[in-house]
Amino acid sequence: MRRLAAAAASLLAAALAGAQTLDDLKNDGKNTDNILTYGMGYAQQRYSPLAQVNKTTVKRLVPVWNLSLDNNWGEQAQPIVYNGVMYVTNARATVAIDVATGKQIWKQTLDWPADTPRVVCCGVSNKGAAIYNGKVYRTTLDAFVVAYDAKTGKEIWKSKAAEWKDGYSLTVAPLVANGVLITGISGAEYGIRGFIDGWDPETGKQLWRRYTIPARGEKGNETWPKDNNAWEIGGGSAWITGSYDPALDLVYWGIGNPAPWASQSRPGDNLYTSSVLAIRPKTGEIAWHYQFTPNDAYDYDACWELILADLNVGGKPRKVAMQLNRNGFLYVLDRSDGQLISAKAYEKVNWASGVDMKTGRPVETDIAKSIRDMKATEHWPSTRGAKNWEHAAFSPQTGLLYANTLHEGRMYKHLETKPYKAGERYMFIENLPLARAAGEPVGHMEAIDPLTAEKKWRVPLTEFQNWSAMLATGGGLVFTGKETGEFIALDADTGKQLWQFQTGSGINAMPVTFTQGGRQYVTVLSGVGGLYWNIAREQLKDKVPPGGSVWTFALMPD
């Protein structure tokens, strides 16, 4: 009896300590008080059914608090919210914040070697934390994975994933799936061999490592040259968090570009670069793969979010995974087996004329041939893609994808490749801007039909591209941010801007919405940074000062 009472007491203690269970994670999105996963639910739809803030009330949306993050490197993270506490990361720190007051509860700073940014191609930042069983998890720029006590911020374990001096770095938000903590890696611009790691969330012990490039003798390695070691330095980063289908027990993780970008030293498809891997979270076993861009010569990558939804395809419900790939095509795959359902261009594309639905392969044009022949070539979309990492949202209410897309071609040329040097750039390309016609958009905010890639609406951007994720809500709104600092709400049906607030720096992060005490809050991080800052710093510097902070909004009471 005493033992039973003790067991009951410890169960109660666990509940009080706020132990996030696997069921909590699986049901993320259903309890709107919490945001426990990257993408606001394992499906990464970035959709909330909340409707208190809607087309009518949004005019009363006002800031309720702002907290400085004391960081000039840029803010990209998605906040996690659990039981009234918000967890936010950047490259320099992890911060726990009281949602009700905006006051800092704890802060853990990180100190990586000053020269680490040498091996960080695309922004000294961090995409966010994961939470599970009373612990907060994150990755570090110098390629460690760390667990903190969610209540106190005390470090519980810290495990090294790789050596930063060899070009490996970490900015990805971890995923907890079926009890395993999963992280990816960055560094394909430095000739790494990419991987996805599974960790024991309790101890930080590595449970498995799945290299994104198979070793000699493993299936897939035959798509690399036999007479050189290109596969060992072939890239294949994995720097955006995968999505997860608990019913199929499959994690969908996008894999990055091959290295070097110039392709002459690596003939073959180069699996599993520029592909999606469907992985068993317990073991890291690959259930299926689909390659978007075989022998990627364009840094097209496939790291971005795989958005999971149930779509009606030709009268039949299908469990799909969708990706607005950087190569300009919008892919819809059957997520149970990887079968290609649809692949339609959603932006200007000149390197391929389409995707062969029988083989699933792009049909390359003379433009592609010219690039492979090492000629300077006008190339659409550019290596930065028709959409970059800035995540799209999917609203089950409208059945549409909402995305910030890029409209950019470049004069692109492969250079002669030179020998690999550990920790140094491994790209060998020239990428120069094209003359732009006056008034030609640099990007769009748009609503896209997943199966036809037709645009329900399209709002052109003429000065700066948007590099912030989208958030769709049941209130018929789409939230996103601008590099010039405006946090905005659009009408999900028309794209008309209904509301804006000027934050103190540029926005290139991921807005979220949640409730506390029945009140709907919207939060976004402001702080110019990330890849766009890397490529447009000179244009932005006189207009947009750096400086990270967290902004939280709610409706002004009547």
């Binding site: 020269d115 990428n431 710093r537």
Partner: protein
């Protein structure tokens, strides 16, 4: 003169691999970092110091590049105009 030509070539190679991603191919597309075509040619010490120790968002390169590499980069930066005609 031959030594300078050698330095220029070495500097161009280091630039192409490590610097062009931010400062632009052949210094022609400096969208991500300062326009090195405008770097004052009489401020060699400042250049060597900034590259070696880092400045603003540029990391220190002293851990990777030897002093003679940084010197070669300087030769490249001040002579790029004559090489590329810009």
């Amino acid at each position: 003169m031959a030594q300078d030509a050698q330095k220029l070539k070495a500097g161009a190679e280091i630039y192409e691999r490590n610097c062009s991603p931010c400062h632009g191919a052949r210094m022609m597309d400096p969208q991500g970092a300062s326009d090195l075509r405008k770097f004052p040619h009489d401020q060699r010490e400042r250049f060597l110091n900034s590259v070696t120790k880092g400045k603003n968002q540029m990391p220190p390169w002293g851990g990777l590049l030897k002093p003679e590499d940084v010197e070669a980069l300087w030769v490249y930066v001040v002579n790029a105009e004559s090489v590329y005609g810009h």
